[in-house]
């Protein structure tokens, strides 16, 4: 993975010093509330219902075991001994003290971590596929490009006060696991007819209040122009994006109001002016790519026969293997998911002890690296098949082996009313209820592939509009109600879910979900997954079952 050089380290150290000074001046009353709000948000610090919330960057979801141990330390020392993984592959702490944040950042900086631009109306953490570098369908590893983009975004002096937040995702595979069509900019690695690597650039996708699927602004961009093209898009947005209404300030609204043709014209005109001065050299790509060379895989890993034996002997292991591991491009290896969706724990939450233990497992089995995923789990990406059984046993002891990846209980869920100042309704409680209703593993596995996404308010942090089943909490005269949508997807065939009907009461949500699943089971054909059944039969049969 990318290792900081002296300049990288100096930069984050200086950022800690800067933020410490800002915090001290705020606490002395020298910086006003509004001003400090903007300054602290640029460093990932929100003020929530109970306490501040600190969001730490997980650059494109890649962490070392050393970093994981530091996160465990922060959770123990400054928080209530747990952390939360977000849909942007970041890590959140829900209970730090505002005055402690500079110390937390200093601790994080000692392991090359920071909270720079994890919030605020600026360029946010760049995200990618959690299987980057090991996926079988990958054209090229997206992480070097992510790192180049990361460096370009960090402390970008021109784009720190954009109309609204700005998110970039990169995908290097045919199957889009990074939801690139739902980002302000989506970058797809593609090859042209000559076999040269380049990028298809999408613009104006996004979730939140007005979910929109991104549009292609350039079908093929030469590799060397990556940064100039991004700079051109963001500059056009900075100058032309709406600033009169924060709900209409995202680039998706600019694209919608101006039209993609006009937007393309602006961006291309701007790009022509800057492209020659901002080329990324081949040497630069090579230099960054050198940080992401494959680890020393055991070439005889696929000679192992124990995997089949263990599978035959333990059905629980076989089930875990089926749901929580995935193919790896190297024979004899698999990528293993660490499920943060145990039935009794809020989705995406992880304790200090679990963080420490996962760090040890990463050291022992996966070259010391861990990834966080968009669906709020973790991945140990390089597990030798002979060691999967042992890994499973250890994860199981830690309650991290619930075999539910990609199933109904692998829900994306925001912190909701329990923590978030923006939320209108609770989400964690409902997740727990749904979990209890689907606690029969055979039933869960029979339902199969299903993405349930649940947000406690319109801001849609849990991406409910692209959930196969989306659940959105709304407030009606002080009472929590929930709107259901069906048929959303954030993958290749990106689609926004269709609203099922009027919102249902809190105590009816789980019942509605099980009714939806009953309709699916009754109507599915052969191996058809839930999403395909919804596409085929439409939402009517589901509506009839519920209303």
């Amino acid at each position: 993975m990318y290792q900081y050089n002296d300049d990288d380290q100096t930069l984050i150290n200086e950022r800690v010093t800067q933020y410490r000074g800002q915090t001290e001046r705020y606490l002395k009353g020298e910086i006003g509330e509004d001003e400090f709000r903007t300054l602290r948000l640029m460093n990932g610090l929100y003020v929530q219902t109970h306490a501040p919330m600190l969001r730490v960057a997980g650059p494109y979801g890649l962490l070392s075991s050393k970093q994981l141990r530091m996160l465990a330390h922060v959770a123990r020392k400054y928080d209530k001994s747990y952390a939360h993984i977000t849909t942007r592959q970041n890590i959140q702490f829900n209970w730090p003290d505002l005055k402690d944040v500079p110390d937390i950042l200093e601790d994080l900086a000692s392991v090359q971590m920071h909270a720079i631009q994890t919030s605020g109306n600026c360029l946010r953490n760049t995200t990618t596929d959690h299987l980057a570098g090991v996926a079988t369908d990958e054209l090229e590893d997206p992480r070097p490009y992510c790192e180049i983009i990361r460096q370009w975004t960090i402390l970008h002096p021109e784009f720190a006060y954009l109309p609204r937040k700005f998110k970039i995702a990169v995908s290097g595979t045919e199957q889009d696991r990074a939801a690139t069509q739902l980002h302000d900019i989506g970058v797809h690695i593609v090859k042209n007819e000559a076999g040269e690597t380049g990028f298809r650039i999408l613009v104006g996708g996004g979730l939140g209040r007005t979910p929109v699927i991104g549009k292609v602004i350039r079908p093929f961009l030469e590799k060397k122009h990556l940064l100039s093209y991004l700079e051109a898009i963001v500059r056009v947005y900075n100058l032309n994006g709406r600033r009169d209404n924060k709900y209409k300030a995202r680039i998706k609204i600019l694209v919608r109001e101006s039209g993609i043709e006009k937007m393309t014209e602006w961006v291309e005109a701007e790009w022509q002016q800057i492209k020659d001065g901002m080329e990324v050299s081949d040497e630069r790509f090579t230099e960054v790519q050198a940080h992401f060379t494959p680890p020393a895989y055991d070439k005889s890993a696929n000679q192992d026969t124990s995997l089949d034996t263990n599978k035959a002997q333990s059905s629980a292991f076989a089930t875990w293997l089926k749901y929580n591991t995935t193919e790896h491009k190297t024979p004899g290896y698999k990528a293993a998911f660490v499920s943060l969706k145990a039935p009794d724990s809020p989705p995406g939450d992880i304790t200090d002890k679990q963080l420490d233990e996962i760090a040890s497992l990463a050291d022992q089995y996966s070259f010391g690296e861990i990834r966080t995923t968009h669906r709020q789990n973790m991945v140990l990406a390089d597990i030798k098949q002979a060691e999967l059984f042992e890994l499973w046993q250890k994860l199981d002891v830690l309650s991290l082996a619930t075999p539910n990846i990609g199933t109904a209980t692998d829900m994306i869920c925001c912190p909701g009313l329990d923590f978030c100042a923006l939320a209108n309704a609770g989400s964690i409680g409902i997740a727990k209820e749904i979990n209890e209703a689907l606690d029969d593993l055979d039933y869960l596995h029979d339902i199969g592939d299903l993405k349930i996404n649940m947000s406690g308010c319109m801001n849609g942090c849990a991406h409910q509009s692209v959930g196969h089943i989306g659940i959105l909490g709304v407030d009606k005269k002080g009472v929590e109600w929930y709107q259901l949508t069906l048929g959303g997807s954030s993958e290749n065939e990106a689609a926004l879910g269709e609203r099922l009907g009027p919102a249902v009461a809190k105590d009816q949500v789980t019942k509605a979900v099980t009714q939806i699943l009953d309709v699916y089971i009754a109507q599915r054909q052969d191996e058809e997954i839930f999403l395909d059944t919804v596409k085929r039969i439409g939402i009517n049969p589901f509506q009839q079952a519920i209303y």
Binding site: L11, W152, L155, P157
Partner: protein
């Protein structure tokens, strides 16, 4: 009043003339609208001329005039409005402007570093007491990732 110019706190000699205000001799800035309307009259002005650029205005409009003026003031009506950053950047890098670029309006001392990075070399703050803070923030970072103006 005092401002920061080229990393020094100095006494300022400029006056910002409102659109409905009469011209005075000496160093003055006018809005882009007034500049466009009274360019010919202003050519005979006794003193230096500067132009104020509001966030929604396009700096390309004054690209041919830059050789005749010695100050461009980029306005931040609110500290959250980042268009001035792009204006400054374009003035320096696209239009090769060498004169003074001054940030004016309602912005934070803590924004001086980024403003300086995009080419602003003079800072006029609503609260003069914050000038020394703004000056010290110019040294917040010794390293950077992007090639920008500074």
């Amino acid at each position: 009043m005092k401002i920061i110019k080229d990393k020094q706190i100095i006494e300022d000699s400029w006056r910002h003339i409102a659109d409905d205000e009469e011209m005075t001799n000496g160093d003055i800035t006018v809005s882009l609208a007034r500049w466009n309307k009274e360019k010919d009259v202003l050519a005979n002005h006794q003193g230096n001329i500067g132009i104020r650029i509001a966030p929604a205005e396009d700096v390309a409009e004054i690209s041919d005039d830059l050789k005749n003026i010695s100050l461009v003031a980029v306005e931040l009506p609110a500290f959250t409005d980042g268009r001035a950053f792009t204006h400054a950047r374009l003035l320096r890098s696209r239009y090769g402007y060498q004169g003074e670029i001054r940030a004016i309006g309602n912005y934070m001392a803590d924004q001086a570093f980024y403003l300086h990075r995009v080419g602003v070399n003079a800072f006029e703050l609503e609260n003069e007491a914050e000038l020394s803070t703004a000056l010290s923030t110019l040294n917040d970072f010794t390293v950077k990732y992007q090639s920008s103006t500074n």
